[in-house]
């Protein structure tokens, strides 16, 4: 567990607070070469070095090797590109060999081996080193002319996947440590839901699901190409079955452990509530077509359901907070949007009816009836204008000119509403963050929990380091000004206009914060019932609250 840190306000480093990657590693250049190299490449305790990047790229190469190994079993994918596979294998072996050699050379600097009698030998017999060796050994055995069956060779190459344990084992150890003393269900919850107990393991779980979502959606898209589907039909079936297996297990884990989430505590009601959430419904839709098709394909043709497997892509929205903001915006603006949709519908029906009225006689095959005219109306009002149906009568054309011009405005309303509401929501959430920062910085320092909160919020609101920095500075200034002004008696403030302005701003700011943090309905109800606000005070409150909204 990371040591509890406290960030002093005066020497606050936003880069380190946000845990950003572009921190420059503090490694002295006059270190002995081996120590220097270890510090740059493999030391996990130096922020800003290349250790994470090395792990990431090696991990990606391992996953790529796994895919290549799978593709090699498909003659249609292997035979025409044999050369490429061979070059990729050589490249992988070179990278893995360099990695093995570097780790061997740097073993005496590693915390794990430096205390051993012979660090190099200890490294060679460590589990990770054995895995690393097995990953490259088959290639050299073959190179030395030792005859190996192709299946054995492929199996040995499959062992490269074990190299991923270098990432998985520390993550698992961290996960176990974080969840010490917690129940099995809490551990499942920590794995599938974002929480303080998930650690790196939860990130790996999310990445694993994300990769399978992308893979299965890619497979669905490729399946629609007859030439690809003809060759890889069997592989697509296997991939889909495995993906459904993974997604089903994930779905069960979420339903089982959701009772650990606040608001979902009831064993049955909580799970039912979870099952009804948009993200869980999407999870359900992602697996439903498979089961329906397997069970019911003898009775009805459910091939059309396959396209719904593309809904799996929606699973990724869980990992993107922007979607949640968008949903919030749509829900908030729904009354206005529904009004706009009503006007649009009215306009479409009116346009279609007039189009039918003016054009039916001239073009009975195109404007056969009003429903058919609706297609033309929507295409015209939305400014798409395919041109397959167009008016020919003077009245029809005149009407089209007017309606096309109206359509530009009417159809643009929902887009404009959404866009402005979206940006308003972001501003509001940033204001809320600012209010929180204001509270946090009152005591002059940021503790680890507060830093975690800022990290999460900055990530959620897509704030850059500079923006967070500016926000913190602004809050700092406001805080300092508030501190200083608060200490002054009111008549002193009143004597100095610049301080009076600041004081006024602070008071208005406090009212603004109050309007954000308090339940305004209850506030207003209480104020009305107790009759404690004068008309001026009431109108000032309304004015500030209205601006805030």
């Amino acid at each position: 567990m990371e040591q509890n840190k406290s960030y002093k306000l005066e020497d606050l480093d936003v880069q380190s607070l946000l845990g950003n990657q572009d921190i420059v590693a503090d490694i002295a250049s006059d270190l002995p070469f081996r120590k220097w190299l270890y510090s740059w490449l493999l030391d996990p305790n130096i922020p800003g070095n290349y250790q994470k990047a090395v792990d990431k790229w090696i991990g990606l190469l391992i996953v790529a090797n796994l895919f290549v190994l799978v593709f090699e079993h498909v003659p249609a994918l292997y035979e025409p590109y044999k050369g490429f596979y061979h070059v990729f294998d050589i490249f992988s072996v070179i990278v893995f060999t360099i990695e093995y050699a570097v780790r061997f050379y740097l073993a005496p600097e590693d915390e794990e081996f430096k205390t051993k009698k012979n660090a190099h030998v200890s490294y060679l017999f460590s589990p990770f080193a054995i895995i690393d060796f097995l990953a490259i050994a088959p290639f050299y055995l073959k190179l030395l002319g030792i005859p190996l069956d192709l299946r054995i060779l492929r199996f040995l190459r499959l062992l490269r996947i074990l190299k991923l344990f270098r990432i998985l084992i520390p993550a698992y150890a961290d996960f176990v440590k974080l969840n010490q003393g917690r129940t099995f269900r809490q551990r499942v919850h920590a794995l599938v839901f974002p929480s303080a107990f998930g650690g790196k393991m939860q990130e790996i779980f999310d990445a694993f699901i994300g990769v399978w979502v992308l893979l299965s959606v890619f497979a669905v898209i490729m399946e629609s190409m007859a030439s690809v589907s003809y060759i890889l039909n069997l592989q697509f079936v296997i991939l889909d079955s495995v993906a459904v297996g993974i997604f089903t297990i994930e779905y069960c884990m979420r339903i089982y452990s959701c009772v650990e989430e606040p608001g979902f505590k009831s064993p049955i009601g909580g799970r039912f509530k979870q099952a009804k959430t948009a993200s869980t419904l999407i999870d359900f839709l992602a697996i439903l077509p498979f089961f329906l098709e397997v069970f019911l394909h003898h009775l009805i043709d459910l091939r059309f359901l396959r396209v719904f497997r593309l809904a799996r892509l929606l699973k990724l929205t869980r990992y993107n907070d922007a979607t949640a903001i968008l949903v919030k915006v749509v829900v908030r603006e729904w009354p206005v949007m529904s009004a706009s949709a009503f006007i649009m519908m009215l306009l479409v029906v009116l346009t279609a009816s007039l189009g039918y009225l003016f054009e039916h006689e001239a073009q009975p095959e195109k404007f056969e009836n009003i429903p058919q005219s609706i297609y033309w109306a929507v295409i015209t009002l939305a400014s798409v204008g395919y041109g397959d149906i167009s008016p020919v009568t003077p009245m029809g054309r005149a009407m089209t000119i007017v309606l096309a011009l109206i359509g530009i405005g009417i159809f643009a309303i929902p887009a404009a509403l959404l866009s402005s509401a979206f940006s308003d929501q972001l501003v509001k959430e940033r204001e809320a963050l600012k209010a929180n920062l204001f509270e946090m910085l009152k005591d002059g320092h940021i503790d680890e929990d507060e830093a975690n909160f800022i990290r999460q919020e900055a990530k959620r609101l897509h704030l850059t380091t500079e923006e967070v920095n500016a926000l913190i500075e602004m809050v700092q200034r406001e805080n300092e000004a508030a501190h200083n002004i608060k200490e002054l008696p009111i008549h002193v403030i009143a004597e100095r206009p610049e301080i009076a302005v600041e004081h006024y701003k602070m008071l208005v700011g406090q009212i603004r914060q109050l309007s954000m943090l308090t339940d305004t309905t209850k506030f207003e109800q209480t104020a009305k019932e107790s009759d404690s606000l004068t008309a001026t005070e009431w109108s000032l409150w309304q004015s500030i609250k209205a601006k805030q909204n």
């Binding site: 567990m1 176990v176 440590k177 974080l178 010490q180 003393g181 129940t183 099995f184 269900r185 551990r187 007859a226 003809y230 039909n233 069997l234 079936v237 296997i238 889909d240 079955s241 495995v242 459904v244 297996g245 089903t248 297990i249 069960c252 089982y256 064993p267 498979f290 089961f291 397997v294 394909h297 043709d301 091939r303």
Partner: protein, 214 residues
């Protein structure tokens, strides 16, 4: 988390009754998904065998394609230069055109008389009775694959069937350069013909195997 907890030995997880129920249900779910996956795999394998049947046709027709144009080609039924071919053509011109096999139904030899050598009917008979093709098995029905006019998803009796169509060029200026039409027994095979081989999958949907010159 406090720092003292870091030094505690790792505790084993105690499973409650609901945890065990969950784990058991997970095992059941995994078993069901595996079973369904196996079923889907078996069905996919059957489709693969069906495609292989189609490929066997493609292979045979392609192999014979060049040979059959030689006058001394030993299989008279498929020989382009068979003397009977011309007579067949004349007969076909004189007689009303033979009714094509009903859509989606197996082509049956409706003509009482044996087809004349050098016609599609004779060649098909020869292929179905005297070549390796006769040993092909429809994996869905475990019988010989039917030769049908087209795959019709509504008709489940057509799963695993094979469709052989001739590709006919359309007149100049048409929207599409070629069109597919089904063979009739009296079709002459005197000249090279373009053939499209299709098989019907487990839902009786068509899967195009190849287009070849015969």
């Amino acid at each position: 988390m406090d720092s003292t907890s870091n030094n505690q030995p790792t505790q084993s997880v105690k499973l409650t009754g609901s945890d065990i129920v969950f784990l058991l249900s997970m095992v059941v779910v995994v078993a069901i998904v595996t079973l369904l996956g196996m079923m889907a795999y078996k069905d996919a394998m059957k489709t693969e065998v069906t495609k292989q049947n189609g490929e066997a046709w493609v292979e045979w027709l392609t192999k014979v394609s060049a040979e059959r144009m030689k006058p001394d080609y030993e299989i008279a039924a498929c020989n382009a230069k068979s003397g009977d071919a011309i007579a067949a053509e004349q007969a076909a011109a004189a007689a009303p055109p033979a009714a094509p096999a009903a859509a989606g139904k197996p082509e049956e030899n409706k003509e009482a008389a044996a087809p004349i050598d050098g016609t599609w009917g004779a060649c098909l008979n020869h292929i179905m009775n005297n070549t390796d093709i006769k040993d092909l098995i429809n994996p869905f029905t475990k019988e010989r694959p039917q030769i049908v006019a087209q795959c019709v998803p509504a008709d489940r009796s057509l799963v695993g069937a094979i469709v052989l169509e001739k590709i006919v060029p359309t007149p100049p200026g048409s929207a599409v350069p070629t069109t597919n039409s089904q063979f009739v027994d009296s079709d002459s095979i005197e000249n090279k013909i373009q053939i499209r081989v299709t098989v019907c999958d487990k839902g009786a949907y068509p899967i195009k195997v190849a287009e070849l010159e015969f």
